[in-house]
């Protein structure tokens, strides 16, 4: 599957396209195969996202997991500061990222 991601223009936060909006949680992302360019163009023009691009992903326990490690680090946060990630209380999150 393909996910559409980018950063929020104002805050810089990593965001994922949910089919109707942008979410900071990769779990909310939907497959955009085929329509990525079109959504990227219109969302960027509306300044709801900055520099959007599509990435490959697979389903993992029912949720999308980006194929490349860089996108997984982006999705969660720095591996060296678990306290600053989106899942500070999840002891297994390191295994999801790496």
């Amino acid at each position: 599957m393909r996910l559409l991601t980018g950063n929020d223009l104002k805050t810089g936060a990593v965001t994922w396209w949910t089919g109707s909006d942008w979410s900071i949680h990769v779990e909310d992302a939907v497959d955009v195969t085929g329509s990525e360019d079109e959504i990227a163009r219109s969302e960027e023009a509306a300044r709801r996202v900055n520099v959007p691009y599509a990435v490959d992903a697979e389903l993992h326990e029912g949720s999308p997991r980006p194929s490349h490690i860089k996108e997984r680090v982006r999705a969660i946060g720095p591996t060296v500061r678990p306290d600053l990630t989106l899942k500070p209380a999840d002891p297994e999150i390191g295994n999801w990222v790496i």
Binding site: L9, K10, S67
Partner: protein, 544 residues
């Protein structure tokens, strides 16, 4: 320390308002990201893996405690309570919002700081010797020259859209503590036979994917020609540096492709032309700036003996303090490399403590080292124990300057969008390994530097041991390099062979240090042994 006058302050204030206006136009859609990007970069604002990142300039690494307090306040107010000190003596914040950026710049301007030209294809923050004004071996304090060049390079109308970034370092001693020859321009303040001061220009050094050591193109530029000469160097680069390929756009490639001689010839020609153009500030301006860098009121009668009866303290004194030009003083290094910690990171609380200690013990001055540590440049020996006790209590007392634990690491894949692999966890595992096996002390001076990709922000080419993160089919992999140095014995490290995974690279570092321990002769550092015996014994031990 340099202080802004009304002119400097007005320029920095104008820049804040300019950026506020640019950010507004971006948010309103009047500027595209392509148009805005170079503008925000010239104000130090990147878009990184998790958010915007702001790089704040610390010109020639010098700060006072008021400024360090302001950096701490920014970390708390706009970021997540910490900052990252970098190899170019700056500080980076990792979680900045575009909406806040102009306010942060305004807060910085209140304490005579800025983020001007900390990124982008322009002349960057000018770095210098972190022991400037304190070192026993310096000819003069190099910082006034760096400040003169800082002003000249700020908002330079001709050189703000160069082929690529441009980094300048200024030193004034034989010992090179600023990686001078790995800069686009390295300047060493020297004397000629008549005893006059002048500047030796080294041009075309750099790291990145094609590391090069800068050749000396002019051994003596008189001080009243310094700016004119720099202008000539830049003009030749701006006109003829490559713009067809961003990986070949640094000045090192131009100097290499033309040859140092031909580049020098062109510079000299431009220089002669520019001598008539009135670009050089009068020497009185240099003298004015020098006035700000006069020695503080040292207590010349201060006791030059240190009470070493406390053994932990004595270890810290041996490792983390450096000889000062005044016998009653030392420069004390605050390690930002606690074992298992993130190299170069400091919390707002730690910044405040360092600021307060600088006020109490170091004439209100701090320095950022390119090795990502902090220096209190002028500490009375009699005050050292009290200083150490306060640092130790705050987790800032690691006695590991220039040891295998004192690792330079770039942000790597934990923060950086260009990264191939993580750098920080490798640094953490290596420091933990050597702290556990107790060899940190016995290995002596060992400079280990890690970059998460070929851009070499972590100076891996210049490490006695260097580590480079690469992407092997989507998996992090690490190449090992040996034999680099960025000091006066400058050399470029060589790759040992096939790379390693995360555990493998930690073992590999241990393996090469064991070869060193077995082979070393009296007084040899790791890099000396490597230079004497060559790569083969290390290769055999690694891949044998």
């Amino acid at each position: 320390m340099y202080e802004y006058d009304q002119y400097d302050q007005a320029m920095v204030d104008a820049r804040v308002e300019e950026f506020r206006d640019q950010a507004r136009r971006r948010l309103e859609g009047k500027l595209t990201e392509d148009q805005f990007k170079p503008l925000r970069l010239m104000n130090g604002l990147y878009l990184q893996l998790h958010a915007y990142m702001l790089r704040v300039a610390v010109p020639y690494g010098t700060l006072d405690s008021r400024q360090m307090h302001a950096l701490a306040d920014i970390a708390d107010k706009y970021d997540r309570g910490y900052g990252h000190f970098t190899t170019r003596q700056n500080i980076q914040y990792n979680w900045i919002k575009l909406e806040d950026a102009a306010d942060i710049l305004a807060d910085l301007a209140k304490v005579e700081m800025h983020a001007i030209q900390t990124s982008g294809n322009c002349i960057r923050n000018i770095s210098s010797d972190h022991f400037a004004g304190a070192a026993a071996d310096e000819l003069v304090d190099p910082r006034p020259y760096a400040e003169l060049l800082r002003q000249w390079s700020s908002f330079h109308p001709e050189f703000s859209y160069l082929p690529r970034k441009f980094k300048i370092a200024v030193i004034a001693s034989e010992t090179d503590r600023a990686a001078m020859r790995l800069h686009d321009i390295g300047i060493n303040i020297v004397t000629n036979e008549a005893g006059e001061l002048g500047a030796a220009f080294y041009v075309g050094g750099g790291m990145g994917r094609t590391p090069m050591i800068a050749p000396c193109i002019n051994p003596f530029v008189p001080l009243d020609r310094l700016v004119t000469y720099a202008e000539a160097c830049l003009r030749v680069y701006n006109r003829y540096g490559r713009r067809d390929n961003k990986y070949k756009a640094r000045i090192k490639i131009l100097v290499h492709e033309l040859g140092a001689e031909e580049y020098t010839r062109q510079v000299e020609e431009e220089f002669v032309h520019l001598l008539d153009q009135g670009v050089e500030p009068p020497l009185a301006e240099l003298e004015r700036i020098k006035g700000y860098f006069e020695d503080p009121a040292f207590d010349t009668g201060a006791n030059a003996r240190i009470d070493r009866s406390d053994p932990d303290f004595a270890v810290w004194v041996d490792r983390n303090t450096v000889e000062h030009k005044e016998p009653g003083y030392v420069s004390a290094v605050i390690s930002l490399k606690p074992v298992g910690g993130i190299p170069g990171d400091a919390t707002a609380e730690q910044m405040r403590l360092m600021a307060d200690l600088a006020k109490d013990y170091s004439f209100d001055e701090l320095r950022v080292m390119h090795t990502q540590n902090i220096v209190l440049p002028h500490v009375r020996k009699a005050d050292l124990h009290a200083l150490w006790a306060a640092l130790d209590e705050a987790g800032l007392g690691s006695p590991n300057l220039d040891t295998v634990e004192d690792i330079i690491a770039c942000p790597g894949l934990d923060y950086c969008s260009l990264a191939n692999a993580r750098s920080i966890p490798i640094a953490q595992r290596i420091a933990e390994r050597f702290a556990a096996n107790g060899k940190t002390g016995t290995l002596g001076e060992l400079k280990l530097k890690i970059s998460g990709c070929i851009n070499a922000c972590g100076h891996h080419h210049a490490g006695h041991i260097g580590i480079l993160g690469v992407d092997r089919k989507g998996v992090e992999n690490y190449q090992l390099l040996l034999g680099g140095s960025e000091a006066e014995d400058v050399s470029l490290a060589k790759i040992t062979g096939p790379g390693f995974d995360e555990n493998g690279i930690v073992d590999a570092v241990e393996t090469v240090t064991t070869v060193y321990e077995n082979e070393r002769q009296d007084g040899e550092r790791f890099v000396d042994t490597y230079r004497r015996i060559g790569m083969n014994p290390f290769k055999e031990a690694l891949y044998g």
